[in-house]
C-alpha cells in the first residue's frame, strides 16, 4: 500500500481526506469564477479586436451581445467544472486550495454526473453556502449527487484506474 498523502506536510496530513469547510470551498469557487470571467473577457475582447482589425474605420464596440454573455458564462463554466471534476477531480481553484471532488465511492466522478453537478452549481451557486450549515460539510450539490469535496494536498490527481478515466472522458 502506498500512502497517498506521504508527500503532504506533516502538519496537514491529519485532515487529508476529510470534507473541506466553507471558506476553502468558496475561495476555490471564487478563483474558478474569476477564471471564467477572465476567459469571457478574453473571448469578447478577441472578437472586438478581430472586428477592429477587419474594419478599423467603422469599428465600434459590439452591440446586442448582452444576451449571449449568460449563455457563454453558463456553457463555459459548466464545461470547465464538469471536465475538471471528471478528469482530475480538481478545477484550478480546487487545486490551488488543495481540495478535490469525489463521488460516493471516494473516487473521481464520471462525466455525466460531473456535468449534472456542474449545471446545478452554476444555476444554484448559493447552494454552496450549505456547507457551513451542514453537519457533514456538504453543499446542496453534494447532497443531491452524493459527492464530497475533500482536502487533498497530494500532487496526484488520478485516484482511479486509467480505464475508468478513459470511460469518463471519451475522446480526451
Amino acid at each position: 500500500m502506498t500512502d497517498r498523502y506521504a508527500t503532504v506536510p506533516a502538519q496537514a496530513r491529519g485532515f487529508q481526506g476529510q470534507r473541506a469547510g466553507i471558506v476553502t470551498r468558496v475561495a476555490a469557487s471564487v478563483v474558478d469564477f474569476l477564471l471564467v470571467i477572465l476567459a469571457i473577457c478574453l473571448i469578447y475582447g478577441g472578437i472586438a479586436l478581430a472586428t477592429f482589425i477587419v474594419r478599423p474605420s467603422s469599428f465600434h464596440w459590439p452591440k446586442n451581445i448582452s444576451w449571449s454573455v449568460p449563455v457563454v458564462y453558463f456553457v463555459l463554466l459548466t464545461a470547465y467544472l464538469s471536465f475538471s471534476w471528471a478528469g482530475t477531480g480538481r478545477t484550478y481553484g480546487a487545486a490551488l486550495l488543495g481540495v478535490r471532488v469525489v463521488n460516493y465511492k471516494g473516487v473521481t466522478m464520471r462525466l455525466p454526473g460531473a456535468i449534472l453537478r456542474a449545471v446545478l452549481c452554476v444555476v444554484f451557486p448559493i447552494g454552496l453556502l450549505w456547507v457551513a450549515v451542514s453537519s457533514a460539510n456538504r453543499s446542496v450539490a453534494d447532497l443531491v449527487f452524493r459527492t464530497s469535496v475533500i482536502y487533498d494536498w497530494s500532487p496526484r490527481t488520478e485516484v482511479e484506474p486509467a480505464g475508468q478515466t478513459a470511460r469518463a472522458l471519451p475522446g480526451l
Partner: protein
C-alpha cells in the same frame, strides 16, 4: 726434526708437517737393514723352494710305495692337527677380546677428550662443503614431516597472549603500507556482496523522504500555497465552530468522506 749427520740430514726426506714426535735416526737405519735382510731372505727362500720342490715331492710321495705309507699323509695329519689347534685358539682369543676390548676402549675414552680431539682435528666446514645439502633436502618428504608434528599440542604450550603482549604493535603498524594493501583489495567484489537495497530501504525508513520531496518541490507546493491552504483550513474550522454554536449543535461534524478502496 733431528738430523742424522750433516750430509745425510740434507739429503734425507723431509718430515711430514704433522709429525711432531722426534724419532731417533738409529730406528730408520734399523728399519732399512731389516727390509734389506727380509728381501734377501725372501728371494733365497723362493730360489731354494724351486730347487727343493722336485725332491720334496719325491720324498713325500715316493713312487712304488702305497699311498697310505706316504710321508705326505703324516704331514697332512700334522697340518690338520695344527689347523684345529689354531681354530680353537682363535675362538678363545675372540672370546677374550669380546671381554677385553670394551673394557679397554672405555678406559681409553675415559682418558681422552674425544670432543676436543674432533674440534682440533676434524675440519667440519670441509666436510660440510662435501655434503650435498640440496640433494638431501630434495629427498625429504616435508608433508609427512609436517603431518607428524603435533601442532595442537605445541600451540597449547605456547602463551600467545604473552607473546602478543610483548609485541610493540605501534612499531609494526608504522611499518605497514596501508595504501599498498588497500590497492590490492577488490572493492567492486566487496560492494557487489553488500545488500545495498536493504541498506537504502533502512535509510529511507529513517528519513522522512516524502517531507523532503515536498519541501523541494515547486509550483503548487510552494510555501505560499501551503500558507493559503492552512489559513483556509483554519478559517473553515472557525466558521464551523461559530455556526455550530449558533445552531446549538453539540456533536462534532462528520467530515469523514468515503475512501477509495482501491487505494488501500
Amino acid at each position: 726434526m733431528t738430523e742424522v749427520g750433516g750430509a745425510a740430514g740434507d739429503q734425507g726426506p723431509p718430515s711430514s708437517p704433522g709429525d711432531s714426535r722426534a724419532v731417533p735416526p738409529v730406528v730408520d737405519v734399523a728399519i732399512g737393514v731389516g727390509l734389506t735382510t727380509a728381501g734377501i731372505v725372501a728371494r733365497s727362500a723362493t730360489n731354494a723352494y724351486r730347487l727343493v720342490q722336485p725332491f720334496a715331492t719325491l720324498v713325500l710321495q715316493p713312487p712304488g710305495v702305497p699311498e697310505r705309507y706316504w710321508p705326505q699323509r703324516g704331514v697332512d695329519q700334522l697340518a690338520d692337527r695344527g689347523e684345529r689347534a689354531r681354530r680353537q685358539g682363535m675362538r678363545q682369543a675372540s672370546a677374550l677380546l669380546d671381554v677385553l676390548v670394551p673394557l679397554v676402549v672405555d678406559e681409553i675414552l675415559d682418558r681422552i677428550d674425544l670432543t676436543q680431539i674432533v674440534i682440533d682435528r676434524v675440519k667440519v666446514m670441509r666436510i660440510v662443503d662435501e655434503v650435498d645439502i640440496a640433494g638431501i633436502v630434495g629427498h625429504l618428504d616435508f608433508d609427512s614431516i609436517v603431518e607428524s608434528v603435533p601442532i595442537d599440542h605445541i600451540l597449547e604450550l605456547v602463551d600467545i597472549n604473552g607473546i602478543v603482549a610483548r609485541v610493540n604493535l605501534n612499531q609494526v603498524i608504522a611499518r605497514v603500507d596501508v595504501n599498498a594493501i588497500v590497492s590490492t583489495v577488490d572493492i567492486d567484489a566487496i560492494v557487489s556482496r553488500v545488500d545495498l537495497g536493504s541498506i537504502a530501504t533502512q535509510v529511507i525508513d529513517e528519513i522522512d523522504l516524502p517531507e523532503i520531496i515536498w519541501e523541494s518541490s515547486s509550483g503548487m507546493a510552494s510555501e505560499s500555497v501551503v500558507g493559503v491552504r492552512m489559513q483556509g483550513r483554519a478559517a473553515d474550522e472557525r466558521i464551523n465552530r461559530i455556526v455550530d454554536r449558533v445552531l446549538r449543535r453539540r456533536r462534532d461534524r462528520k467530515t469523514s468522506a468515503p475512501v477509495d478502496r482501491s487505494e488501500q
